[in-house]
Structure formats: structure tokens, C-alpha cells
């Protein structure tokens, strides 16, 4: 029971964004996809969520072939996402932003395949519980666009989790957040880990990635460079090269930063290459 990418490729005209990528994401873990700019991280998210079609290969969620479905059908199957740039409904209240996630569940049977019809009471109960979990209860009636940026980020996170989707894609959840907010975000995402859910993260902030991931997949030029635990990734030479250049160049960087380093390995360098 998992989300799998099988020999997936994506071309944009002559540009090959993803080359023969195969990955498996089991439930019950947090995964991070990292890599230099242009490595194809967001392309993977957009293909899984159905914003892009795959050029070749298959994406499956359990027994369902996801890569041949329309975007809204993929979301109905249980793959939800956040966006690199906030995509909230600014003119609607915080509560309404969550309510619309249950639109299809609230329709009469004729327009909804399977399941029971969700009543307004059930819908509001789910949404209010979610707002409470994400510390947004106090602003339920405020317009989403009026919230400070940090809380908008949290609301988008809440919107991805409110339907209990088994796969949640988070596209740069820490982008634009300050240090404290990023730490808070990391703590929050870690607390959302559940045995029936896979969380897949695309993120540049190495502290965040290394502190909460169970597995880190490193992409470079559209190919899987390395996949392993945060510690293994940190120690891997190929990864260091992709981020910092060849071993010779890396040596120079090492020498330059020698003595000033406090928390060894790539963690210290991450600051240099953060995009």
C-alpha cells in the first residue's frame, strides 16, 4: 500500500525535466525530495498531483493508476498538496477555505460516487476540529487574505490535511518563514506523521529536512542521485558534489570554512547554497 513512481519521465519540449525516475513512498513516514534548483523536485510534485501529465511511466496509488486521471480525480483518491506560492482563497473566510474541501462529499448521491452524503453539521465539525488542531480557531471567521503570512502557510497546511488524505505533498512549506516559524513548522509537520499517511516534502531548508525526514531523496538533473536516511545523505559524497561542486572545489570550501564550523557536515554548508 503505497504511492509508487515507475520509470517516470517528463519532457518539456526538448528539455528533459525528469529521467526514468522510480520511487516508492510507503505510508507512515515523512519523505523529503531535495536537490539543486532545476533538479525536478517541483515537477515530481506536479506530476503526482496531476498538474502535469507524465511523458512516460506510471504513477500508482495502491492499485489505482494516478497518472491517467484528471487533477480533481487524483485529489478525490486522496492525494492532497500545498503550493510553493500560497494558493488560498483570499476572499473567503478561514473556515470556508476548509469547507470547500468537502464540496464533493456534501453533494447529493446523484453527483457523488460512493460514500455517504456529508451533512453540514458533520462538515463544520470536521473543519472546526481541524482549525483547533492547527491553532487557527481564533481566526475562523477572518478572511484568509487578511492573515499574516505565517498563519496563511499554516492554513494551507491545514487545508491539505483536513480531508485525511493518505498522501500529502508539501511544496516548500517553510519558504518565506523566519527561523522561529520554520522550527514551529518542522515541529508541526513531524506531529502530523501517522501510520496511514505518507507526507512528501519538497524543501530547501536543510535543517527542516534533516530534522524530520525518515528518508531523503536527492534529485539532480532530473535523476535520482541518492536516496537514504538524513545521516547517510549528509555523508554521501555524490550529494555533496551536486550541492557544492567537485571534490576539489569542496576541499577549498572546507578549508575556507575550517574552524568556523560548529555543526559538521552538509548542515553547515547548506546555508551557503540555500536558494
Amino acid at each position: 500500500m503505497a504511492l509508487t513512481l515507475e520509470h517516470v519521465s517528463k519532457r518539456f519540449g526538448s528539455l528533459v525535466a525528469i529521467k526514468d525516475l522510480s520511487l516508492t513512498f510507503e505510508r507512515g513516514a515523512i519523505y523529503s525530495i531535495i536537490g539543486p534548483n532545476g533538479a525536478g523536485k517541483s515537477t515530481v510534485v506536479n506530476m503526482v498531483a496531476g498538474s502535469y501529465t507524465v511523458t512516460s511511466g506510471v504513477i500508482r496509488l495502491d492499485a489505482h493508476v494516478v497518472s491517467s486521471l484528471a487533477k480533481h480525480q487524483i485529489a478525490r483518491l486522496g492525494i492532497s498538496r500545498t503550493y510553493q506560492n500560497l494558493r488560498l482563497f483570499d476572499g473567503m473566510s478561514v473556515l470556508e477555505n476548509l469547507e470547500v474541501c468537502f464540496f464533493t462529499d456534501s453533494l447529493p448521491g446523484l453527483f457523488r460516487r460512493g460514500g455517504h452524503r456529508m451533512t453540514k453539521v458533520e462538515r463544520l465539525k470536521r473543519c472546526h476540529a481541524c482549525l483547533h488542531d492547527f491553532n487557527l480557531a481564533d481566526v475562523a471567521e477572518n478572511l484568509a487574505g487578511d492573515l499574516p503570512y505565517g498563519r496563511q502557510k499554516v492554513l494551507e497546511l491545514a487545508r491539505a490535511f483536513v480531508t485525511d488524505a493518505p498522501v500529502v505533498l508539501l511544496d516548500e512549506p517553510a519558504a518565506g518563514l523566519n527561523h522561529t516559524e520554520t522550527k514551529e513548522m518542522a515541529r508541526r509537520i513531524a506531529s502530523l506523521k501517522r501510520s496511514d499517511r505518507a507526507i512528501i516534502l519538497v524543501e530547501h531548508d536543510m535543517d527542516l529536512v534533516m530534522s524530520i525526514s525518515d528518508r531523503v531523496d536527492v534529485l539532480n538533473h532530473g535523476e535520482l542521485l541518492y536516496s537514504g536516511s538524513p545521516d547517510a545523505v549528509r555523508r554521501n559524497e555524490k550529494v555533496q558534489e551536486a550541492y557544492l561542486g567537485t571534490a576539489a572545489e569542496l576541499d577549498i570550501v572546507r578549508k575556507l570554512t575550517e574552524g568556523r564550523r560548529t555543526s559538521g557536515g552538509i548542515r553547515a554548508h547548506a546555508g551557503v547554497v540555500r536558494h
Binding site: K71, A75, V100, C101, F102, T104, S106
Partner: protein, 331 residues
Amino acid sequence: MGKSVFLRRTGLIVTLLVCVALLVKVPALPPYYVRVADSILIYIILAVGLNIVVGYAGLLDLGFIAFYAVGAYTYAFLASGQFDIHLPFLIILLIGAGTGALAGILLGFPVLKLRGDYLAIVTLSFGEIIRILINNADDLTNGPQGIAALDRARIFGLPLISPTNFYFLLLILTIVVCGAVYFMERSILGKAWRALREDQDATRGLGINTTGLKLAAFAISAAIGGATGVIFSAFQRFVSPESFTFQESLLVVLIIIIGGVGNIVGIAAGAILLIILPEVLHFAAQYRLLIYGLVLVVVIVLRPNGLIPPAFNLGHVIRKIQALWLSPSNT
């Protein structure tokens, strides 16, 4: 405290009674005024219907009058000597809503992928195509001569003859349509439409079939247009293509923009202003349209969000009345 609640409550009752009295007393005016009132009600219903597509779903439809035409000709075909079919008025009212909805879906399908300017142009063309079709399908519609001597409408045996009869019929329909549309606005459907208007892609990303959502907006709005067309046709007892020009579509869109997009109270105000204005300006003879245009420009400049502010909508009015009603009156 208790006294002020009592006073405000009395004020509210008086206001409501005055409103009801004014609405009921309209037929006491000379027939000319009743006809103007009928016209206002027709445009309120049309604009509230079109507002579903334009205001809620955010899709600019410039060919809305086509659905009104479809409804009007539905009555002309089914209640006249044209094909010697004479169905009862209320049945045709339902059929008219149905044919309107069908036309809405037919228009909806090809234009679903379009947005903004492109959608506006295609819907404008659709409106013109329907009018030109009616104008040329001589065998069916008598072309520009139109269809005359339509049946007198009857409701449960009672004939609808005078503008006053139609005034009450339209008043009831206005209340029903406004109530139904307001209910939709508040429901999860209305929220999904607003989401669609703000960000179509993100809406799809939440598992919402935006195609179905747009078709629903087109169909419901067109059904309202169709039903209104049936009443118009039964009222005039004559239809011809010249009632359904692009200017009519534009007028309905203008009512929404001038009144306040997405705001039912605003739309009513917009319809009253835009229908009464040309009547009031009769004295100005050839300068009438000039003044009309100037007034519109002034309204848009002074009140870019419409005559009635978005915060003052039907929900606001209802909440005010509820609050006053439920507040404790410890006198």
C-alpha cells in the same frame, strides 16, 4: 436599553410594513407605472440569474439574453396557433426553465476551457447566433415578423390579463428566485463557486470537478432566464427577435455591475435605477442617452464596487432583522 430595542423593533416593523404596503400598492398607480414596475421585476430576476455565472462563478457571460429568448419562444411555440399547441402556462413555465437550462449546458460545454475575454466574446457570439437563428428560421419563428396572438396565460383557471396580474406573478417569482439564489449562495455550492472564481486550479486540486461546477452555474442561471422569458412572452402575447438584441444582454450585465457584483440587494437597486432612468429622462428627448451614459459613468466613478456596498447584502439584512428579533426585550 429595553426601550431602545422596543423602539428599533417598532421601527423595523414599520419599515417592513411600509415596504410591503408600497409593493402591494404599486398596482393602484396608472397602468404605465405598473408596466415599468413589471419591467423592473423582470430585469431583477434576469440579473439575479445571470449573477450566478458572473458574480459567483466569475465567468463573464455577454449572451445571457439568448436564454431569455429560448424561454420566450418556448411559450410562443407551445401556446399559440403557430403549431396549434396550447399547453397550460405553468407547464410551459417549467418547460421553459428546462429548455433554458439545456441551452445553458449546450453553451457551457464548448466554452468551459475559456476564461475572461475569450469567454465573453464567445458568449456574446452565442447570444447573437440565437437571435440571428430566430430571425432567419422563417418556418419555425416567422422570422422578423415574430409570432403574434399567443394564448392568454391562465393559472388554475384564472386568466392573467392586466399588467397588475403580471406584477403579482413577477413579484412572487422575484421573491422565490431571490430566496433560492440566496440559499445557493450560502450553501456549499456557493462557496465552491467563489473558490472557482478565485483560483480554478487550486479548486481542482481540492478534488472539485470544476467542469461540473461551471455547467451547474450555466444551467441554473439559464433556467432562470428561460422561465423569465416565458413570463415575458405570456405578458406581451407577441415575440419577435428584436426583443433579444445584444443591448439587452449588456443591460443585464450593467445592472449587475452598477448595483454590485454578487450582491442581490445591489442588483435590485441597479435594476430600479437602470430601468427607471430612461423613463424619467423622457423629457430630455434626443439628449436622453447622453445623460443616461453620464449617470452611469458618474456611478462607476463614485462607487466602483456598485451602488450598494458588498457588506450590505441580503445576508446582512436578514442577520440584522434576526438580531433585533432575538435580542432580549427586558422592558
